[in-house]
C-alpha cells in the first residue's frame, strides 16, 4: 500500500466526494431533462371499413402517411416517409419520388435511386371484428 500523507489523503477524499456529488447531480440533471410532457404519438390508425379499399386499389392515406394496397394476396401497406431524411414522398408515374433530395422508389417501395439507401418500410395491417382496416406503425 503506497504511502500517502495526511494532506494529500484529505485532498483526494475531498476531490472524490466532490466528483461523486458532481456525478449524482449530472445524473439527476439528465433525468430532469429527459421527461417528456407530450402525449405518445398515435401508432394505431383505424382506416374505416375495409370495403373502402377494394381489390386492385392503391390508396394514399395522407395523415399517416402511407399507401394501402389491396391485391389478390390481400391487404398491405407501405410507409411514405422517405428513408433518407424523413420527407413525405410523392406519387409519380412509376412509383414514388421524394421532393427534398430526389430519392426515387418503385410502386412497391423498393429504392431505385437517390441519396436514400433503404426501401420504404412495409406496415402491418389487419381487420378488426367490425370489418375495419387497422394500420400499425411498428
Amino acid at each position: 500500500m503506497p504511502e500517502i500523507n495526511r494532506r494529500d489523503f484529505l485532498k483526494l477524499a475531498s476531490a472524490g466526494l466532490l466528483t461523486a456529488s458532481g456525478l449524482i447531480s449530472a445524473a439527476a440533471l439528465f433525468r430532469f431533462l429527459s421527461y417528456s410532457t407530450e402525449p405518445a404519438t398515435q401508432s394505431e390508425f383505424d382506416l374505416g371499413d375495409a370495403s373502402n379499399f377494394p381489390v386492385g386499389s392503391h390508396k394514399v392515406v395522407a395523415d399517416i402517411p402511407a399507401v394501402i394496397i389491396h391485391d389478390e394476396n390481400g391487404f398491405s401497406a407501405i410507409s411514405l416517409i422517405c428513408t433518407h431524411l424523413g420527407c413525405t414522398v410523392e406519387q409519380d408515374a412509376d412509383g414514388f419520388s421524394c421532393p427534398c433530395h430526389g430519392s426515387k422508389y418503385s410502386s412497391d417501395g423498393k429504392v431505385l435511386q437517390g441519396p436514400a439507401k433503404k426501401s420504404l418500410p412495409t406496415l402491418l395491417t389487419e381487420q378488426n371484428a367490425e370489418g375495419h382496416l387497422i394500420l400499425y406503425l411498428d
Binding site: 494532506r7 484529505l10 485532498k11 477524499a13 475531498s14 466526494l17 466532490l18 461523486a20 456529488s21 449524482i24 447531480s25 439527476a28 402525449p39
Partner: protein
C-alpha cells in the same frame, strides 16, 4: 489551509445530495390515465388505484376521475390534488351537481332526450321537501292554504306541464315565521330531504344529492349492526347504480314517527332480524308484494325523481296503485308492446340487465305511460316481474277472473289490505 474542513464540507454536500435523491425516490411513481372523453392525463390513480369502478356506464377509462369529481389532475400532493374537488367526497351534492352529473352531454337537458335528470331532481318533492314545509306552515298559521310556497332552497320552473305544478318556491326561512312550532320544526325535522346531512346513526347513513339513492350502501356490510339498512358511518361507497335496494330508501323512510305536539321525531326502536320486520316500521300495514319487492320495483322514475314540475305534496306525484300491476276485477292491467329500440324501457333494462328486453316484448305500463320494464306479459295470461335489486322472479295472475270481491274503483291502500295485509 484547512483540508479537514474542505473534506467535511464535501462530505456534507455529498450526503445532502444523497438525502435529496432518497427523499425524491420515496414519492410514488406517477401512474397516468388518459380518459377518452377529455384526452387529458390524470394522475389520481397513483394513489387511488384500488378504488373500484363506479359503474359500467361510467367506466374510468372513458370518464377518468376529474370529469365528475373535479380536483387537480396533475398534482401528487394530497391537499393540492383535492383542493378543487367538487362537493368534497360527493360530487353529486345538489350544490355542485350541475357541473358534476349535469352538463349538456350528461344528465341535464331535455326530457325528449331523456336527459332531464338534473331538472327533475331540482324540482322534485324529495329535494324541496315542500309538502312537509307547507303542511307545518299552514297548520301553524304561516300560510293560508296547503299550496307550497317555500322549499329547502329557492327554485323556479319555467315550463309547467301538470295542473298542480307551481312556478317557483322561495327558500324556507324559519326565522321570519313567528310561531315557535315552526322554529322547532326547522331545528328538528329537516334531516330527510335529498340534500340534507342525515342524522347520526348508521341506519340513517346516506350521501346527499344523486348519491342519496344511487350510491346505496352495500347490503352485507359486516362492520356494525345494520338494523334498518345503512352503512357504517362514513364508509366509502364508490358506486352508482339503478338497482337500489329497499334498505337505501329506508335511510329516510320508515324511520319512525313525528310527534307534532312536541315537534320531534321519534325513531323506531325495534330491532328486527328479518326483512319482514326490517322493511316497514311497527305500525305499518302492507301486503306481501310490498315487502318482498324493493321499493323501486313499483315506484317509477317519475315518482321517485319528479316530473319536472314543482309540487306541493307527494300526493301529486305518487300515483302507482295496486291495479297498475294487478288490474281490477273488471279490467286487465295496462300493457304496451315495445316497438322502438330506443324505448326507455329497453334503455333501462340495458342499464340493469335483470331481464332481457327486446323489441316485440310486452310489458306492463302505468296510467301515465311509464313502462314497468322489469315486467312482462306471459303467454298464459299471467304476468312476471323480476326484482330490480333482488333479481327474484315473481309470477302473478291478474285480478280479473279471480275470487276477488272488491270493486275496482277504490284504490286506497286500506281497501286491498283488508284481505291481503301480512300479519307479523
Amino acid at each position: 489551509m484547512n483540508y479537514k474542513l474542505l473534506l467535511l464540507a464535501s462530505l456534507i454536500l455529498f450526503l445532502s445530495l444523497i438525502t435529496a435523491w432518497w427523499i425524491t425516490s420515496r414519492v410514488p411513481t406517477p401512474v397516468t390515465l388518459t380518459p377518452s372523453l377529455s384526452g387529458q392525463e390524470e394522475y389520481c390513480i397513483t394513489c387511488h388505484a384500488d378504488l373500484p369502478e363506479i359503474s359500467s356506464s361510467h367506466a374510468v377509462k372513458t370518464f377518468g376521475c376529474v370529469t365528475c369529481h373535479g380536483g387537480e389532475r396533475l398534482a401528487l400532493d394530497k391537499d393540492l390534488a383535492h383542493s378543487t374537488m367538487r362537493g368534497g367526497k360527493n360530487p353529486s351534492d345538489l350544490t355542485v351537481v350541475e357541473q358534476s352529473c349535469g352538463g349538456e352531454n350528461c344528465h341535464s337537458g331535455s326530457a325528449l332526450e331523456m336527459q332531464d335528470h338534473y331538472q327533475r331532481v331540482q324540482t322534485s318533492i324529495q329535494s324541496t321537501y315542500a309538502g312537509a314545509i307547507a303542511n307545518i306552515r299552514y297548520t301553524f298559521g304561516a300560510q293560508p292554504d296547503l299550496t307550497a310556497r317555500q322549499g329547502t332552497y329557492a327554485v323556479k320552473d319555467d315550463v309547467i306541464s301538470t295542473d298542480t305544478g307551481l312556478p317557483s318556491l322561495e327558500a324556507f326561512t324559519p326565522a321570519s315565521d313567528q310561531n315557535p312550532a315552526i322554529q322547532l320544526f326547522a331545528n328538528n325535522c329537516l334531516e330527510c330531504h335529498i340534500n340534507a346531512k342525515p342524522r347520526e346513526g348508521i341506519s340513517n347513513n346516506r350521501f346527499t344529492g344523486c348519491s342519496a339513492c344511487h350510491s346505496p350502501a352495500p347490503l352485507n356490510s359486516s362492520k356494525n349492526s345494520k338494523d334498518f339498512g345503512g352503512t357504517t358511518q362514513g364508509s366509502q361507497v364508490h358506486t352508482l347504480t339503478t338497482a337500489i335496494p329497499y334498505t337505501q330508501c329506508n335511510t329516510c323512510h320508515n324511520r319512525g314517527n313525528y310527534d307534532l305536539r312536541q315537534m320531534t321525531f321519534i325513531e323506531r326502536n325495534n330491532k328486527p332480524a328479518d326483512r319482514l320486520h326490517k322493511y316497514y316500521q311497527p305500525i305499518a300495514e302492507f301486503t306481501r308484494c310490498e315487502y318482498t319487492l324493493d321499493c323501486l320495483d313499483c315506484h317509477t322514475r317519475i315518482e321517485a325523481m319528479g316530473d319536472g314540475d314543482i309540487h306541493s305534496n307527494k300526493k301529486e306525484i305518487q300515483y302507482i296503485r295496486c291495479k297498475t300491476c294487478h288490474g281490477t276485477p273488471t279490467e286487465l292491467p295496462l300493457t304496451k308492446t315495445l316497438t322502438d329500440p330506443n324505448d326507455i324501457a329497453i334503455r333501462q333494462a340495458f342499464l340493469n340487465p335483470v331481464v332481457d328486453l327486446k323489441v316485440g316484448d310486452t310489458v306492463l305500463v302505468t296510467e301515465q305511460g311509464e313502462p314497468l320494464w322489469n315486467t312482462r306479459a306471459l303467454p298464459n295470461g299471467a304476468f312476471q316481474m323480476v326484482g330490480k335489486s333482488s333479481k327474484q322472479v315473481f309470477n302473478f295472475n291478474p285480478v280479473l277472473g279471480s275470487a276477488c270481491t272488491q270493486t275496482g274503483t277504490d284504490q286506497s291502500s286500506a281497501y286491498c289490505h283488508k284481505c291481503h295485509s301480512v300479519k307479523r
